[in-house]
């Protein structure tokens, strides 16, 4: 009926094979393998240690200077980077765990819930650097230490009144508001956890926002984009995102509302399979050292170590920290209550 493309008829009726499709396919694969990803080769002969692999969701703009500074140190080593948003990072870790084990030596997450889940699965944890006590106690555990902080703040149009407190967002003056989805963004879940546990707010706060016409978008960045575009008057987002839009020239302003911007820290954890890696331990130690935190602060991320200069924090800006252990324990119940309001 039809002719398979591998063979064509000779005039004498016999069949002669043409090159199988597998041949160009194999050539293409070899070509890609040759010109593609890192070969994984070590610096043989240079005396330098094996490279380590870092998985992180920290922005490229912030992580690259930190890696450069670490690699230049005498106790440093090559760092192979996999950087992706939290969702993709989680998916990669989940896939690694089911195909031979985590392929990272260090995981630098963007929220404690994610990293705690990795600890619970036995993928990371069990070690923090000796100098970790310079990091405030609310930003570390025995399994990981905070490398940077995200602050959940309010962003608003410059032609709209600035909210002084979080409650102000639920008052007159805002015809449209946006909040990030706590089922997608861990920073939003941290904020939800803090509001839910705070007697003056509770999940009722979100009900009042909803009654004011608030809508739920996916991520804090989507909140910033919508407010900057003018689709929404104000919203809840992360400080880096809001300040970036403001510095670009978008007509927005940033408020750290009373009783405080919600702090969500990004933990660094050593992979359990890399417990003997000196380079991996050196890297974590470097990040939480004053030198590492200074590099991080200059690159646009908020440091965890007090006194180290970082991006914009208004003088006297209030900050609150969620109880992460309580959020982890109540996550499903709080989310279910919240989703009665916004769906999902």
């Amino acid at each position: 009926m039809t002719v398979p493309s591998e063979s064509v008829a000779e005039p004498d009726g016999k069949w002669r094979r043409r090159p199988a499709p597998a041949v160009p396919a194999a050539v293409a694969l070899l070509l890609l393998a040759a010109c593609g990803a890192d070969s994984g080769a070590t610096d043989v002969g240079t005396g330098r240690a094996e490279p380590i692999t870092l998985y992180t969701c920290l922005s490229d703009q912030s992580i690259q200077p930190v890696i450069e500074a670490f690699e230049a140190r005498p106790d440093g080593g090559q760092v192979d980077l996999f950087r992706a948003p939290t969702g993709e990072l989680n998916a990669r870790v989940a896939a690694d765990a089911r195909s031979g084990g985590l392929r990272a030596d260090v995981v630098w997450g963007c929220d404690p819930l994610t990293v705690q889940a990795f600890v619970d699965q036995g993928l990371v944890g069990g070690w923090t650097p000796p100098g970790a006590d310079t990091v405030p106690v609310e930003f570390r555990t025995r399994d990981y230490v905070g490398g940077h902080v995200l602050y959940m703040v309010a962003v608003h149009r410059t032609d709209t009144a600035a909210p002084r407190t979080w409650s102000d967002l639920a008052e007159d003056g805002y015809t449209s508001l946006a909040v990030p989805d706590p089922a997608v963004a861990a920073s939003a879940l941290g904020a939800l956890g803090w509001f839910a546990a705070e007697p003056a707010y509770g999940v009722d706060f979100f009900e009042r926002l909803r009654a004011r016409g608030a809508v739920q978008v996916s991520t804090p960045d989507a909140v910033t984009t919508g407010v900057a575009q003018g689709i929404y008057d104000a919203g809840i987002t992360i400080a880096n995102s809001a300040y970036a839009a403001k510095e670009d020239g978008s007509p927005v302003d940033v408020v750290w509302p009373e009783p405080g911007a919600v702090a969500v820290y990004g933990p660094l954890a050593l992979a359990t399979g890399s417990a003997d890696s000196d380079v991996a331990k050196s890297f974590i130690s470097f990040v939480v050292s004053e030198e590492g935190q200074t590099v991080l602060g200059a690159s646009g991320a908020y440091p965890t170590v007090p006194g180290v200069e970082g991006p914009t924090v208004p003088p006297g800006a209030p900050v609150v920290s969620p109880d992460w252990a309580a959020i982890a324990a109540d996550k499903d119940a709080v989310l279910a209550e919240y989703q009665q309001v916004f769906g999902g």
Partner: protein
């Protein structure tokens, strides 16, 4: 049917080879996902019984049906309209309708909000905005507009390969009206192409993520893909991961349940066997008033659905910040400076290589499935390759990592496998829709008449199939060039693709640089395409001139 043909051994080896690739790219990854559920269990019944999942599943299927129901007629009408050589400005329109294909989905969603949402173009200029854009109606419309060019391309390819202008002419000469000729001659011949386009749009809509996420979430409109993304996103929690895997497999089952019966019942009935010769007869011209009305209608549609949103996107690429007026005072090339760095240029080379290799292999694989599925033993292949098309990119990447990550994690080969698995059906369907032009008898006749193997393939097989092969290659190339979801999950150190580098470099996903990336990609595609078109036109004009001067110098001209 012809008695001649390759020996049974050769046929079986060929079929076995294709089935092996199907197993590697489709069956094993899907089975590995199922194995994860099987071994790790979880409260699957609770997840499936939840009202939210039920609502998401209902939304997903209704959306797929609604988008297919609207995009297919629009694409068919566009293809039939643009087939007419007497349509004013036809060349321009043929390029313009394809414009949405070079824009990544999430940027397209943004461009619509910039054009039609509150504080968008129309709100600023006319004081009118469309409140329904952020919600199911907006998701539906943008998906329809996004899918219509794909339908157009598949049907146009089908028209180029399958149309029988002589048949239409004969019908008209015999007294049939325009509509009757269309209904009784043209559309029945287009059946396979329309079926191919319908399956593609239906499955792509089932698996679409970015536009429902950008436009649907604010209205609380969820689909299975947005729930899958949430499951992968939150907390690294094994239960959430299992929910995401389960929902992805539900999507696979829904796609299989819809596509398998359609393929089994419809596929063989739509096929015919016709001569490979591409007929040179012209389409019967229509009245001038109709041509003008068609051109005006097309212009209006493209202005509202393509030009305005893409103008908003282009302006966003040169406007220094979101929310400021896109006037020259606020223009800047900063976003392009951020996109065009040495790192991105290096990644561009990698992306171009990947896209060209992927598109070329996909055309080959698509053609093999199109041929193989016509045999009884290979009939299910066409349906099987749809299963990885419906998987959201993130889930497919996870499936490939779990299956092959031990050996290929972090390599470009794994990204290539992901592109092949994701886009195989996209390459296969247009080729299958045009395969009637490849009757085996004529290939045998050419070989029996002394033509070498390459000459026989080039002159008998490639000529009538060229539009379909080129169309399939183009769709795969464009999609692979700006693909980001799978590559952002699969890349290794030093192996980033262009979209990964650009999106990684953008602190907090700012829209301006992403818009600049889209413009760069569009130019990357448009400039060589225009150069090629120009060269082809020049060569044709030169050929015509030579023919006019000395017909006997041109082979085949008597």
């Amino acid at each position: 049917m012809p008695s001649g043909g390759p020996p049974a051994v050769a046929r079986n080896v060929a079929l076995g080879g294709v089935l092996a690739v199907v197993a590697v790219l489709v069956v094993l990854p899907v089975l590995r996902l199922a194995a994860v559920l099987w071994w790790e269990g979880g409260d699957l019944h609770r997840i499936l019984a939840s009202a939210a999942v039920g609502e998401a599943a209902r939304n997903t299927v209704l959306l797929a049906v609604g988008v297919t129901g609207a995009a297919v007629p629009i694409g068919v009408v566009m293809a039939l309209t643009l087939r007419r050589p007497d349509l004013p400005g036809r060349t321009f329109w043929r390029v313009a309708v394809l414009a949405p294909l070079v824009v990544p989905d999430f940027v397209l969603g943004y461009s619509w909000t910039q054009a039609y949402a509150r504080a968008g173009f129309t709100d600023t200029a006319l004081g009118w905005h469309w409140a329904g854009l952020l919600g199911p109606r907006g998701v539906w419309l943008v998906l329809v507009v996004n899918a219509a060019p794909l339908v157009y391309l598949v049907v146009a390819v089908g028209l180029a390969a399958r149309a029988e202008p002589d048949g239409e002419l004969a019908a008209r000469v015999s007294g049939a009206g325009r509509v009757t000729a269309l209904r009784t001659v043209t559309l029945p011949l287009l059946g396979p192409a329309v079926a191919a386009a319908s399956v593609l749009v239906f499955v792509l809509t089932l698996g679409t993520f970015a536009i429902p996420q950008v436009l649907g979430t604010p209205a609380g409109f969820s689909t299975l893909t947005t729930r899958i993304y949430a499951g992968l996103s939150i907390g690294g929690d094994p239960a959430s991961f299992l929910e995401a895997v389960l929902l992805a497999l539900v999507l696979v089952l829904v796609a299989a349940a819809c596509v398998a019966p359609a393929d089994a019942l419809l596929g063989p009935r739509l096929r015919t066997t016709r001569p490979a010769d591409v007929q040179a007869a012209q389409v019967v011209p229509g009245p001038a008033a109709m041509r003008r009305a068609q051109a005006t209608g097309l212009a209006g549609y493209l202005f509202l659905t393509t030009a305005l949103p893409l103008a908003a996107l282009s302006l966003a690429s040169v406007t220094r910040a979101l929310g400021v007026a896109p006037t020259p005072a606020n223009w800047s090339l900063e976003h392009f400076r951020q996109v065009l760095t040495p790192r991105t240029l290096e990644a561009l080379g990698r992306s171009l290589t990947l896209s060209v290799v992927a598109a070329s292999l996909l055309v080959l694989l698509g053609a093999l499935v199109a041929v193989g599925e016509r045999r009884r033993s290979g009939r299910a292949m066409g349906t099987l390759v749809v299963l990885t098309l419906v998987l959201p990119g993130s889930t497919l990447a996870v499936a490939l990592l779990i299956t092959y990550g031990r050996w290929l994690s972090g390599s470009l080969v794994l990204i290539l496998l992901a592109y092949l698995a994701k886009l195989w059906a996209v390459a296969h369907r247009p080729i299958a829709g045009a395969l009637d032009r490849l009757p085996a008898d004529e290939l045998f006749a050419a070989r029996a008449s002394g033509a070498g193997p390459l000459t026989a393939v080039r002159t008998v097989a490639l000529r009538p199939m060229a539009p379909a092969l080129l169309g399939a290659w183009l769709i795969c190339f464009l999609t692979a060039l700006h693909e980001v979801t799978m590559s952002s999950l699969l890349y290794g150190s030093g192996g980033e693709t262009l979209a990964v580098v650009v999106l990684n470099a953008q602190e907090l996903g700012r829209v301006g640089p992403s818009a600049a990336l889209s413009v760069v990609l569009a130019l990357l595609v448009a400039v060589p395409a225009l150069a090629l078109w120009w060269a082809a036109r020049w060569a044709r004009a030169r050929g015509v001139a030579r023919t006019a001067m000395s017909p006997r110098e041109v082979p085949g001209v008597r």
